[in-house]
């Protein structure tokens, strides 16, 4: 198993199928990750970021979610071909996830300590005492006093709950961490603490991380690589510097344009939102999914599949009219 094949997602397609309609959540997503790197998945709400993470972990709600095609190789093995038993072994142990909403991610009737110990016990062969020891250790690692082990989630503040969620995700020292908007629900001051903590622990354990967020500031702080998701597709992918310094896709440009800037600009004191709305995932447009909102759209954008091209070394883009804004 070569290093660069640590995680490889190939042409992943996930649909949510209900009797009324099919939602095309993820449409042909491919990317690779090397060990120890952090990839930022950036995109608007509903772009399919969380679905990608849940597909990797194999916890898509089925029904209605259905993997329509694609392969996910984790440490060289296609996880869709693994038995449920093997997946149980990987989940929570080698691949873990930090959930978006810490307010609802903890079970209200189980003590916080037990919720951490539980995941350890599931993967250490059922050693209760060791699991409890580890849980106490993790609580202290995330800055929560050990005596609060016996308390329930309702006795914790939002920031503390999120730290518990992180402790659960990191208790088994995963090799792949899926962080789904780990700081979105938090105050800015606590955000910084949580990010710092994640960074520290990741470096210590050489954890590969996929960080899902729509906060470009967090991406700049945390990531080595960035993939921009739009309507279930990666439309631009490259190293942090490439994407931040040379954004080429009109959508990526739009994202940066929508950020408030502190710089004084003589005639530019307003935000620039991207015109229009993301496409309805039940009826995606033909051709490029961004074409209805794109200022540079041409006739050929509206037909067929848009190829992925490597525009600069290590910088891929799914667009016929890359724009360089400087």
């Amino acid at each position: 198993m070569s290093e660069d094949k640590f995680l490889k997602v190939e042409d992943l397609n996930v649909h949510y199928i209900t009797t009324e309609q099919d939602v095309f959540a993820v449409n042909g997503v491919s990317f690779e990750m090397t060990r120890g790197k952090t990839l930022g998945l950036v995109g608007e709400t509903g772009a399919g970021k969380t679905t990608i993470a849940r597909a990797i972990l194999g916890i898509l709600p089925n029904p209605p979610a259905k993997v329509m095609g694609g392969k996910i190789y984790f440490e060289g093995r296609n996880i869709f071909e693994l038995s449920e038993k093997d997946m149980l072994d990987i989940r929570g142990n080698k691949i873990t996830m930090i959930f978006q909403d810490s307010m609802t991610a903890l079970n209200p009737v189980i003590t916080v300590g037990e919720q951490i110990a539980e995941v350890v016990e599931l993967h250490n062969g059922g050693d209760k005492a060791a699991a409890k020891q580890r849980a106490i250790e993790m609580l202290e690692t995330v800055g929560i006093p050990a005596e609060r082990y016996v308390e329930y989630p309702h006795q914790f503040s939002g920031g503390m709950k999120q730290r518990v969620v992180i402790a659960i995700a990191l208790a088994c020292e995963p090799s792949l961490l899926l962080a789904d908007e780990p700081t979105t629900a938090l105050d800015v001051t606590i955000q910084a603490q949580v990010l710092e903590l994640m960074k520290e622990l990741n470096e210590k354990n050489d954890t590969t991380t996929i960080l899902i967020t729509h906060d470009l500031g967090v991406v700049a702080e945390m990531c080595d690589e960035v993939a921009v998701i739009y309507a279930g597709q990666i439309i631009e992918h490259g190293s942090l510097e490439e994407i931040f310094d040379y954004p080429m896709h009109p959508y990526t440009n739009g994202l940066f344009g929508a950020l408030p800037s502190m710089k004084e600009d003589e005639n530019d004191d307003r935000l620039h939102p991207i015109a229009g709305l993301p496409p309805d995932p039940t009826h995606l447009p033909e051709g490029c999914y961004f074409s209805p909102r794109c200022p540079y759209v041409t006739e050929e954008c509206r037909h067929g599949d848009i190829p992925v091209t490597e525009i600069r070394p290590g910088h891929q883009i799914k667009c016929l009219h890359p724009q360089e804004v400087k």
């Binding site: 029904p63 929570g92 873990t96 959930f99 079970n107 209200p108 995941v119 659960i168």
Partner: protein, 327 residues
């Protein structure tokens, strides 16, 4: 927690007093004359009058009410039956075990069938394992218990001859009463379990439990069920309460000498003290069941427990304040 239980026990006093007054008043205003019921319709008018006088029936309402309250709450005496002259307390003490046995086993049966049925309906939502139990529940909820009882008797006693149709005896005498008593509650429980499990199964902490690599069985029984239990426990409490009230019909159909059967008989005979005593007894049992329900809930859900705790803490600070002011 102990303080809470104690407080709830104290709160039962006004409730029971209220029940006593209401039931006494109802019995007072309904038409019908106990004297006629006792002597029959052939007696002389002065005989009725004399009997009413000795029984104190000619006294004003308020005097009779106070006399009854004093008798019940100071001497714990429910009076004697107009009809048989036997002490009602003795009469009820012999009968309540039958009623409680019927209620208890009906609840046990409905819990042990209804909850698993509801769980599997929820976990297999949309498949036949969902709609089959749902259909059964719908039939169960819609069907009057006494009708089911009669049908069961028809099938298992009259046609098949497997089980006795009425009376008391060994274990097999309990099968049909418990079944007919349990079915309605079972259906209710299955429905409630299904819907509250469905609510819980899509919550984030269930996804989280799965993400931990927990086998689905444990996810359902360790993580989902305890959270779904709160409304289920409420239903269980009210199911038991319904067994007490509805037990009347079941007991009458199967000739079980329970409190319900006694109550029906007493109503027919205008045996006021007997009716009052029975209702009072069932109310006491009912309030205890409700208290038990609340305590069980507190043990299942730490948030409810915390409410009691914080209330107790508040009371303590309230009590502490005047002391502090005095110092």
């Amino acid at each position: 927690m102990l303080r809470y239980v104690f407080r709830r026990l104290l709160m039962m006093i006004p409730v029971l007093l209220g029940v006593t007054i209401v039931i006494f008043t109802l019995m007072y205003i309904i038409p019908g004359d106990p004297a006629v019921a006792i002597l029959g319709s052939q007696a002389e008018p002065w005989e009725y009058e004399a009997l009413r006088e000795t029984m104190g029936l000619n006294d004003p309402y308020i005097v009779r009410l106070l006399r009854y309250l004093a008798q019940v709450y100071t001497r714990f005496d429910l009076g004697t039956s107009y009809l048989s002259g036997v002490s009602i307390t003795t009469e009820l003490a012999g009968r309540i075990p039958h009623t409680l046995t019927l209620g208890f086993f009906s609840v046990i049966v409905s819990v042990f069938i209804g909850i698993p049925l509801g769980i599997q309906a929820a976990t297999h939502a949309g498949t036949w394992r969902d709609w089959l139990p749902l259909t059964i529940s719908l039939i169960g909820v819609s069907m009057p218990g006494f009708w089911l009882a009669l049908m069961l008797v028809l099938a298992f006693s009259v046609k098949l001859g497997w089980l006795p149709a009425y009376g008391m005896g060994g274990l097999k005498y309990w099968v049909l009463p418990v079944l007919s008593g349990a079915f309605g509650g079972l259906a209710n429980l299955a429905k409630q379990t299904r819907s509250s499990m469905l609510d819980v199964l899509y919550s984030d902490y269930i996804v989280m439990a799965r993400a931990k690599g927990m086998p689905e069985r444990d996810v359902i029984y360790k993580h989902a069920l305890p959270n779904a239990l709160i409304p289920i426990i409420t239903i269980m409490g009210s199911t038991f309460a319904r067994m007490l009230g509805g037990g009347m019909l079941t007991e009458t159909i199967f000739s079980i000498p329970g409190v319900g059967y006694y109550m029906v008989k007493s109503v027919n005979n205008r045996d006021y003290p007997a009716v009052q005593g029975s209702v009072l007894l069932l109310s006491i049992v009912f309030t205890f069941v409700m208290l038990l329900t609340d305590i069980v809930m507190a043990f299942v859900d730490p948030r409810i427990k915390a409410q009691f705790a914080s209330r107790a803490a508040k009371d303590q600070t309230k009590q502490a304040k005047p002391k502090g002011a005095a110092a």
